[in-house]
């Protein structure tokens, strides 16, 4: 049942960090925070600096032409990966956070007015809350949150009421704490029915499942490279072309202009309009290679394997007395991660003891203070899986948790 539909041993060998003897090999269960990188991605980034390094969209010399070619190839790979209509709909940002801020400042700044509502949910990451608060303060719009039930699912019974006056729905596809996979397609239909747009925070979903922005029927998608095998420093905003075309610039500077005088400038077409300054060239190219790596395995295979790992994770955690797991039971709307508390020990202490056993988990509020307030707990420990994890990693987590309960009982 937990046999992956790909060669897991070969995959694990592709990740140098999983071979390191950190006393014993690390059971890395914090991919929801940032994933590990395969050799192919590390090598692609290094190869850029060794053989191709030059600025993009500037020189007519060969190195710059080749750098531009590879940078734009990466954009095309991203477009293909999420089934965008065109590579022109793909904007490189630093990360998910910057992608959301781009929409908030550019689209939001010119489309929201006093009395308008931005609809979020109780389970959002701070990066999908704070940019909208800043926007609301600037425009006189207000925020509203879809509540969650005790299983950690959105409560959508009153969605029609919640959508009154809404101009934008900004919602996570997959909770970074609960592991809940939200019905984005349904929410897109609902949002459009009242004339609202929908932005999806795909930071946790895009790395783990097939993503088709056209089938989802959404308007904006934000995600990060570093959670999907690519380096830090590169993320993506995808948006419908017609929306992006109508949006004013985000940051001003080089690359994003057509003409500049001291008094006034005209702006480049998308995506260049939203990519001021020298971009993260090597990182974007490496993201393209990360996508190559994931495509070679197949996102459906990644999702199928993670579903079985998630099943095993929740089953095993249920066997440890004193452990409370948050989020929905395993099923089609539950990702392979578990945020949990241990009766006798604080999440920091849990994570510290696990670390001494070579098990890496995250402890804290995971940038979701409103969610933790709703759960009425200050913090949790979180174990999250990716394609390179095995049931042995989870066994080591469980053995570590038994040490925790022995030490603190």
């Amino acid at each position: 049942m937990h046999t992956p539909p790909f060669d897991i041993a070969a995959v694990r060998r592709d990740f140098p960090i999983l071979q390191l003897p950190i006393e014993r090999p690390v059971a890395f269960l914090d991919s929801a925070s940032s994933s590990q990188k395969p050799e192919a991605v590390i090598a692609a980034q290094a190869a850029f600096y060794r053989t191709t390094n030059a600025n993009v969209h500037r020189g007519v010399y060969q190195l710059s032409e080749q750098a531009t070619y590879e940078f734009e190839r990466a954009r095309g790979r991203v477009a293909f990966f999420i089934n965008a209509n065109s590579a022109r709909e793909v904007i490189f940002t630093r990360n998910t956070t910057e992608a959301i801020n781009l929409v908030a400042q550019s689209w939001g700044g010119s489309n929201l007015h006093p009395g308008d509502v931005i609809l979020l949910s109780q389970m959002e990451h701070h990066s999908n809350i704070v940019p909208w608060q800043l926007l609301a303060q600037r425009t006189g719009a207000s925020l509203r949150a879809i509540p969650i039930d005790s299983a950690g699912r959105l409560v959508l019974d009153d969605i029609d009421t919640l959508l009154q006056g809404v101009k934008l729905v900004a919602i996570t596809h997959q909770s970074n704490v609960l592991g809940t996979i939200n019905p984005v397609q349904y929410l897109a239909t609902k949002a459009h029915a009242v004339g609202a747009l929908i932005l999806v925070d795909g930071a946790q979903s895009v790395p783990h499942m097939p993503t088709d922005v056209q089938a989802l029927g959404i308007d904006f998608l934000a995600f990060s490279g570093h959670k999907m095998l690519a380096p830090t420093g590169v993320g993506v905003l995808w948006g419908r072309k017609a929306l992006l075309d109508a949006m004013p610039p985000f940051l001003g500077g080089g690359s994003m202009i057509k003409t500049v005088t001291i008094e006034v400038s005209t702006y480049a077409d998308v995506p260049a309009r939203f990519e001021a300054g020298t971009p993260m060239i090597g990182e974007a190219i490496a993201l393209g290679h990360a996508i190559d790596y994931l495509e070679a395995i197949g996102m459906a295979n990644v999702a199928a394997y993670e579903e079985s790992l998630g099943h095993y994770l929740l089953d095993q955690l249920a066997e440890v007395s004193g452990v409370t797991v948050y989020g929905p039971p395993i099923g089609p709307d539950r990702a392979a991660m578990a945020s949990f508390t241990v009766d006798c020990a604080h999440p920091h202490d849990v994570a510290q003891v696990l670390d001494s056993e070579g098990v890496a988990v995250r402890a804290g509020h995971h940038c979701t203070q409103p969610l933790h307030a709703a759960l009425d707990i200050p913090s949790t420990a979180r174990a999250s899986c990716y394609l390179y994890n095995t049931t042995q990693d989870i066994d080591r987590l469980v053995a570590g948790l038994r040490k925790v309960t022995t030490l603190f009982a």
């Binding site: 604080h346 920091h348 202490d349 510290q352 200050p378 913090s379 603190f408």
Partner: protein, 134 residues
């Protein structure tokens, strides 16, 4: 880890000294750790230029709770000048944990010290440079 959870830390975590609140008090200061949401409240009663009584409350990890427990033991009867000068290194020596390369847990260990110093400086009408405590 063996160092982190040696018996003394676990003992103070299980049975914290000076746990509770003081009423009346001269100083009451709450500090929280934005990384994990933990909170500690520290109350002081001051008499004759000394800390006459001290109590702490709040929830947190073993390191933050044990550090608060040990720090409050240390503070009872201390001159205000000495309390004012009490440093991060003093706390680390007191609790005996090597947290120099552990910036995240360091914040846990220093939470009660920060509450004490922020509260005491305010009581004295003095300006505290919190850089060393962040």
């Amino acid at each position: 880890m063996s160092d982190m959870y040696r018996d003394l830390i676990l003992e103070h975590h299980r049975y914290p000294h000076n746990y509770g609140t003081l009423d009346p008090h001269d100083v009451s200061q709450e500090e929280h750790n934005p990384l994990c949401g933990d909170r500690i409240r520290l109350d002081l009663r001051i008499a004759d230029g000394k800390i006459a009584a001290v109590a702490f409350s709040g929830k947190g990890c073993a390191v933050s709770q044990a550090a608060a427990s040990m720090l409050t033991d240390e503070l009872i009867g201390m001159d205000l000048d000495a309390a004012r000068a009490y440093s991060k290194d003093d706390v680390l020596e007191l609790i005996g944990l090597p947290l120099d390369k552990n910036p995240v847990r360091l914040k846990c260990a220093l939470l009660s010290l920060k509450a004490m110093k922020v509260g005491l400086y305010r009581y004295l009408g003095q300006q505290l440079d919190t850089d060393e405590l962040d």
